[in-house]
């Protein structure tokens, strides 16, 4: 309230309180008007106060809503982050499982299951394309002697070393895996027997360089290899059986060599 209005209020209050004006005809009217004015003033105050409170209420509710919305948003973001984490974990576990189901634990090379599946596919591919296909079965020479003389742990290390040497000696497109025990299978797609033989020789060479700690230098680690070419009339198992016969011949002929069944 400004100063002039305050002064007027005081003036009117003074006039109404002055007994000199008690019988003045305007006094009663002024007193009634004054009362009404005061009542209006009070109402205005109440309306203003109610309005203020209502506005505060709306503002608070908006704030709460915003807070709730932001809280929910944070929750959803957190949930998404964690969910992504679990999915990533599952993907990794899947990859591990896949690796475990297709690869040999000791050597890290493809396992028998994987090789058999691949051989079937390659035979099918060759049947369609007419391209040749060879397989080479390799067996570590006198491996039982290694195990018996220097223990199975040394034997395992030797198998790993042979696997690595063979794998490094492969040509582009060839696949080598552990067929079982001390036996390895090499699949040589788009390869005739004539080309398979030098490829097998290179593998023999690579294995001759293998040195294993715990095995004396005078014991040379070698492998024998039997090679066979797949023929369009046969199942891959038949090719493998002939490679096995060739391997048997390589062993019989003094080991550390490759033989082919013609």
């Amino acid at each position: 309230m400004n100063a002039a209005a305050g002064e007027l209020d005081r003036k009117i209050e003074a006039l109404l309180a002055d007994p000199a004006w008690l019988d003045h005809p305007l006094r009663e009217a002024l007193a009634a008007l004054w009362e009404r004015y005061l009542a209006q003033l009070h109402r205005l105050d109440r309306i203003a106060s109610l309005s203020d409170r209502f506005q505060a209420l709306v503002r608070d509710r908006d704030l709460t809503r915003t807070e709730q919305f932001e809280k929910r948003l944070r929750q959803v973001e957190k949930m998404t982050r964690i969910s992504d984490g679990y999915q990533e974990m599952m993907r990794e576990l899947n990859l591990q499982l896949q690796q475990a189901s297709t690869h040999d634990l000791l050597t890290g090379l493809p396992n028998r299951r994987f090789l058999a599946e691949r051989l079937k596919q390659e035979a099918e591919r060759s049947r369609r394309s007419g391209e040749p296909l060879c397989v080479a079965l390799a067996d570590v020479d006198r491996f039982k002697h290694v195990n018996d003389s220097w223990g199975h742990e040394v034997g395992d290390i030797a198998l790993r070393a042979v696997a690595q040497a063979m794998d490094r000696a492969l040509r582009e497109g060839d696949l080598c895996g552990r067929w079982g025990g001390e036996e390895f299978l090499v699949i040589l797609p788009a390869t005739r027997l004539d080309d398979a033989m030098p490829a097998a020789e290179r593998i023999l060479d690579a294995v001759r360089d293998v040195r294993v700690e715990g095995i004396p230098a005078e014991h040379r680690i070698t492998i024998s290899i039997g090679v066979a070419q797949w023929s369009a009339q046969e199942r891959p198992e038949a090719t493998l059986a002939r490679a096995d016969v060739a391997l048997f011949e390589a062993k019989g002929n003094g080991r550390d060599r490759v033989m082919a069944l013609t």
Binding site: R74, Q75, M79, I82, S83
Partner: protein, 131 residues
Amino acid sequence: MQVTDLSIAGTQSTPEIRADAAAGVLSLAGDSYPENAFELFGPVIDWVERYLAAGDAPLRLDLRLLYLNTSSIRAVMDIFDLLEEAFTHQRKVSVDWFYDHRNERVRELAEEFAEDCTFPFRILPDEEAAG
């Protein structure tokens, strides 16, 4: 205490759930990717609410969870929210999250869960659980 215990056997897709009001322990163990998460976790959330409302005894969560799908993650977050709320009212609540020490991923995810929680939240390799 008038809060009844819960005992739900685990399946391949749902965790084993045990709520022991006398001991003040709620334990969840296993994988959780239920077809209907609400059906599975509804009674659990309900149990936590009733237990917290029924008195002032402490509550400890013993978690051995492996895989959680998104709705299970949400349910677990909801339970943690209840604990957080109780904790701000001076209730003694805590979480022990055990993980297989060979699976560091689960530890990392448990840490994500713990991020906004101010109540005691321990993440422990499972071998310690035995010892």
